[in-house]
Subunit: 362 residues, 2 copies
């Protein structure tokens, strides 16, 4: 097992990464300070891991709540189900919520924890690759609005993150690829050496080679933890770099209806859009774009926009992005593999052309 | 005009108190950092003060949203109306929300600001006595759940508070009394001299004597600002002292259906309950209780429980209070006029007897 720390002063917390962590009470118990604990999971994850976690915490007063599965349920309405359950069962502020599941569960439960009685503690136990390398770390919580992804939420840090990589064996192929998108992102924005390692190890990752997966999760969490520690509330622009591909990706997710494209799939396609747009601006060369395309393709991620969406719809949806400032769209773009920039200094016409090229013409 | 400051490091902000502040752009403009501003108010306050504020901010890009009036609308559903409006009109994170109204507007708008795109700036312009002396200061935001008051919310500080005391002239008598409840609270918990001043000036306050009102608002805000600066997130127990009468009061509000008793009315009755219970515990003497009762009565606040509620219902509703810890109810009680304590060390039977005595037997 490897452990990292997200350094945020009195809100610092550890990330533990390795196999079979759900069976190790000594990892969790030090972070359960409250009288009662509620595990919140979904109907897909519950049959796989809920009993295991309940057994591990048998000495504590622990109950569970099982939500429906899917991005389409990442809503204020589902958050309200959590509040109803907590109040009907008289949970006080002296409560810890445990998010057991993927990014949707982590985001909703984190947001519910941020708001219930103005804040109770919570723990992240991510069970998908995407949530282990990205969404469980850093305290971005929230839900979707039908007009935009993650538009309602809070910055709210967990007590700890337990990334038990054995849970990845139960993941469908699409979910694995979705997670790889966020891993590739760290290579693209900050670490050319890691990008090269990913090029060499993409097949090992796709077959869940234990050493490769553990390393990829650890390196991703390291990168994320470092960025979050330096810009927790996305104020300096540094944290925004973690959103490479996300402005395009969120537009795809919203436009297609939540859950039809996985978040990681949309981000994969969005990163390639960002790379190709960067090339059009003269910032990346052809070889760098080709390497980006090759790795995203090897990870079995989509490389074209869904046929249901056109360029104008993409641009309309991108206009509500959280990074819009003074009416100007700001995008994370690439200067090199391993070097991202956050910029609004680009030609809208070139952007339109790039998106047009990604549209599937039937 | 008098100005105070809530000292919270880089989240510090001023409170301006005085007459006709809504007409003074120089008070507001320094706190509107964002591209767009949305004033959120309700259908009662809008006809009185919205145009005035819009005129004052004529040089900025300002729009408004008018919500229905009343505690019954302090819900997640109303918050969602705000999110809908913001997204339909493409408000970015670069937005300031202005809460123009009483405590309900301030609490909802503050909560919406805390959650919209994980946080946008907001300004409090309280137009009721209660919100000027209490709810607009200190960053407690949130909405009600049908099972409990303020159960969903966030600690989220405004950019500034503008308490324009001329707006109090439009207040119905009941709302004025409700505000006096929170003013009396500061005397009871922290300032015997102020309590004595209130005894001497209660009639001047009820007739909105300008000097008296301005002083009472200022002294209340000073007291609140000081407590909040020392315990922003209600962790040390000091901030909890501001909740004198509130555990009883919230139970009344929830039990009666939100909006039937005003918050301040419920708190007024709740403070007297706390005083009488403190006397039963031997902590207050008869004279201190009599003075408390006399001032609460003089402020035209209720001094008995609503006839619709019985003792058991009160106790059941109090059991979900946010201050419950390890299954134990904790109450703010009085050791003296001007000295409150936060305690769970009391006899449940005596509590039941006290509540029973407040029940109206018909």
């Amino acid at each position: 097992m490897r452990s990292l720390k997200v350094e945020l002063g009195d809100r610092s917390y550890p990330i533990h990464i390795g196999g079979n962590l759900l069976q190790q009470p000594e990892l969790l118990l030090p972070h359960l300070h409250s009288e009662r604990t509620l595990i919140i999971t979904n109907e897909t994850v519950a049959p796989l891991y809920l009993d295991r976690l309940l057994n591990t915490l048998a000495d504590k007063q622990v109950d569970s709540l099982i939500l429906p599965d899917g991005e389409v349920y990442k809503t204020l309405a589902t958050t309200e189900l959590i509040f109803n359950h907590l109040l009907e069962n008289r949970y006080s502020r002296d409560t810890t919520l445990i998010a057991l599941g993927g990014g949707v569960i982590g985001d909703i439960v984190g947001f519910a924890a941020a708001c219930y009685q103005r804040g109770v503690e919570f723990v992240q136990i991510p069970t998908t690759l995407l949530s282990q390398v990205d969404s469980s770390v850093g305290g971005k919580t929230g839900v979707n609005h039908h007009l935009g992804k993650n538009m309602i939420g809070a910055f709210y840090q967990p007590q700890c993150v337990l990334a038990s990589t054995d849970t990845l064996t139960s993941l469908p192929q699409r979910e694995l690829s979705a997670g790889l998108a966020e891993i590739i992102k760290y290579g693209l924005i900050a670490d050319a050496t890691f990008f090269r390692w990913l090029e060499d190890n993409i097949d090992a990752l796709l077959t869940l080679d234990e050493t490769a997966i553990n390393y990829a999760v650890e390196r991703s969490c390291q990168c994320k933890a470092e960025v979050v520690a330096s810009d927790e509330l996305e104020q300096s622009g540094r944290r925004a770099l973690l959103n490479l591909g996300h402005t395009f990706g969120h537009a795809i997710e919203t436009g297609m209806g939540y859950g039809n494209w996985l978040h990681g799939e949309a981000v994969g396609c969005g990163m390639l859009l960002a790379a190709e747009f960067s090339a059009r601006l003269g910032w990346l060369n052809d070889e760098q774009v080709a390497r980006s395309r090759a790795l995203i393709t090897a990870a079995k991620l989509p490389t074209a926009l869904p046929s249901e969406m056109d360029c104008q719809q993409m641009l309309d949806l991108m206009a509500v992005d959280k990074k819009v400032k003074q009416g100007k769209l700001r995008l994370v773009l690439l200067r090199d593999i391993g070097e991202a920039v956050f910029s609004s200094d680009f030609d809208q016409g070139l952007l339109r052309e790039t998106i047009q090229d990604f549209s599937q013409r039937s």
